[in-house]
């Protein structure tokens, strides 16, 4: 591919070179596209085809006629969705739980990262990190098992201890307020350590000399955190906030499904669990697809608006 001296300077050289590079690029692309085949098929079949399947939200879907032959019903299922108290309550529950999740869950990893950054002993820092990342790798079934062992009214450890100290057992999991607290708390417990990693990465890129000069100017720890650390990780915070806002309409299926129980269902049923129970188990395909479409659509609108807002401050994600 070395350019010979003869070729340089002649009139035809640029065109010939261009053609040469085009051929070369084409040849390089053949194996690349061969590699892409499995990925493209995956996205088409398992990601984009279901989006096409969303049309059943506007149809009376039944197995016999299939997706394409089932009769159109227009907005019928969306009207049911917004007129039935049951579905409205479920949409409200979804929003309620996810907003609480964001409000309490979002700042936690930032605080953990900043705190970890102040730990100077390497062995202690590493030990703490190893331990607090661990819950992230456990399934919600395990976390729900732990929650039951600790808080259930029949034989839960907390209630046994309360009993030994002469207290009355408290039905933590059967009261809406304490259930929600346990729901949010368990989510924070599981994810806050692991989510801190990304902030720790951002923190490590802050210039240490900034802290030194601030210290010499008499700024205490808290002021250093406020004026150096937080501005230093602001892009990361905004990026993750956009993603978090985009997920406001969804509450993780595994988390709710494993933690909920019939007694608190009125506050604990969310869109994803309802779609599973009523849609799949009771074959109400069209109604629950409409619900799912509403969820995804609002999510898309939320993430795009959050991004537009962030763009105003030059922090847009895309």
């Amino acid at each position: 591919m070395k350019i010979t001296p003869a070729a340089v300077g002649t009139d035809q050289a640029p065109a010939a070179k261009e053609a040469f590079y085009q051929t070369k690029r084409f040849r390089q692309n053949i194996p690349l596209f061969a590699m892409l085949i499995p990925g493209v098929l995956y996205y088409l079949i398992f990601r984009y085809a279901p989006m096409g399947g969303l049309v059943i939200a506007f149809k009376d879907y039944n197995f016999h006629d299939g997706i394409w032959s089932s009769p159109w019903v227009g907005w019928k299922y969306f009207e049911i969705l917004f007129q039935s108290n049951v579905t409205l309550q479920i949409i409200w529950n979804t929003l309620n739980l996810s907003v609480l999740n964001l409000v309490f869950g979002f700042p936690a990893p930032i605080i953990i990262a900043i705190a970890l950054n102040e730990v100077r002993k390497t062995w202690l820092k590493r030990w703490i990190q190893t331990v607090i990342y661990l819950p992230h790798f456990l399934s919600w079934v395990i976390v729900a098992g732990i929650v039951l062992t600790l808080f259930s009214i029949e034989g839960g450890t907390v209630n046994k201890l309360l009993g030994q100290w002469g207290g009355e057992p408290v039905p933590f999991l059967y009261r809406a307020d304490s259930w929600i607290a346990i729901f949010i708390g368990s989510g924070m417990w599981k994810e806050m350590g692991f989510s801190a990693i990304i902030y720790l990465a951002a923190l490590s890129s802050i210039d240490p000399s900034l802290y030194e000069s601030a210290g010499m100017d008499g700024a205490g720890k808290l002021r250093q955190i406020w004026h150096i650390t937080l501005p230093g990780i602001r892009p990361t915070i905004i990026l993750l906030l956009i993603l978090g806002v985009g997920r406001l309409m969804e509450v993780g299926f595994d988390q709710v499904y494993n933690l909920q129980n019939p007694t608190v269902l009125e506050k604990a049923e969310v869109i994803s669990t309802y779609v599973y129970k009523v849609g799949l188990q009771q074959a109400q395909f069209s109604l629950t697809t409409a619900m799912g479409l509403f969820e995804s659509f609002v999510g898309l609108v939320l993430v795009l608006s959050a991004n537009a807002l962030a763009r105003k401050f030059d922090q847009g994600l895309f």
Binding site: V40, L54, G145, D254, Y276
Partner: protein, 290 residues
């Protein structure tokens, strides 16, 4: 540098909080392990906290012999091994072409993948696709349905992009084709990222729950997560009427719950320390680049 008294107090306070948080992450497991090996009587009286009282391993025997746990454990291993291999292959094969600047239509393809992170068909339409492909009650529904995590694929792609261009170029001048370039140069340079994603996929398949209850109705094919969840539910729905059941039985199911959780956590605890140093490195590099 001298630190003020207030600063010292602040740092001590931070240490105490962090250590307390770390303890809340470990102690539940210590408690569950202690419960699972203590005698049912001591468990019932609430004598067991972090140290076993009156050793009794019979529930472990019961767990593996009288419940579908052993078969479910095997299923989990199959799902995890098969899924992780397929996902890693597909992720690398998709991320690599997208990381090459000379790929035609690179931007539109990347955007099309990215869009699936923002919008999707949802549970029912995806189920209908699985159903029409006759994948229900086969592990292919789990493996193909979650073949590529777009997030993982994109961090893999940006990692590939970070391999210095000169290295790849000089190899290509020496007549190295795309496949050999990937196998001989790019992949060996990306080991931390490969280890990280292997861990992520592996954990994802091991913990898989929703897809299994959606697509696998055949109980003999279900994995440990779903089987243990079934045991927890029986316990969780214990109401006042069930309290009258035989004391013996209640103690068994109480402990069975702890045993189920311990059996599920142990494989994770065994691999976790070995992979931890890789994933921290991998995530840090991925997040800075991304």
């Amino acid at each position: 540098m001298r630190e003020s008294i207030g600063g010292k107090f602040f740092v001590t306070f931070i240490h105490i909080i962090l250590i307390l948080i770390s303890l809340t992450c470990i102690l539940p497991f210590v408690h569950l392990v202690a419960l699972s090996v203590s005698s049912g009587h001591a468990v019932d009286l609430g004598q067991v906290l972090f140290w076993p009282v009156g050793l009794d391993f019979t529930v472990y025997n019961y767990f593996f012999e009288n419940t579908p746990a052993l078969r479910a454990f095997t299923n989990s291993v199959i799902i995890t091994l098969g899924g992780t291999i397929l996902s890693m292959l597909a992720t690398v094969l998709t991320a690599y072409p997208l990381s090459r600047r000379y790929l035609y239509a690179r931007k539109p393809i990347t955007m099309a993948a990215l869009f699936t992170m923002l919008f999707g068909g949802g549970m029912i339409p995806t189920y209908l696709v699985m159903n029409s492909l006759h994948l229900i009650n086969t592990y292919w529904s789990l493996w193909l349905g979650g073949l590529i995590s777009t997030y993982n694929m994109l961090i893999m792609k940006s990692y590939f992009e970070s391999v210095p261009g000169e290295v790849a170029e000089s190899a290509q001048i020496d007549g190295c084709g795309e496949v050999r370039l990937l196998m001989r140069i790019i992949l060996p340079l990306s080991l931390p990222m490969l280890a990280t994603l292997t861990l992520f996929y592996g954990v994802g398949y091991w913990n898989m729950f929703m897809s299994v209850i959606l697509y696998i109705n055949e109980t003999s094919l279900q994995n440990l997560t779903v089987v243990v969840q079934g045991m927890l539910q029986i316990q969780g729905n214990f109401n006042m009427a069930a309290m009258d059941m035989m004391q013996q039985q209640e103690m068994v199911s109480e402990k069975l719950k702890a045993v189920g959780v311990v059996v599920m956590v142990v494989p994770m605890l065994v691999v976790y320390p070995f992979l931890q140093k890789y994933f921290v490195k991998g995530i840090m590099l991925g997040s800075i680049k991304g």
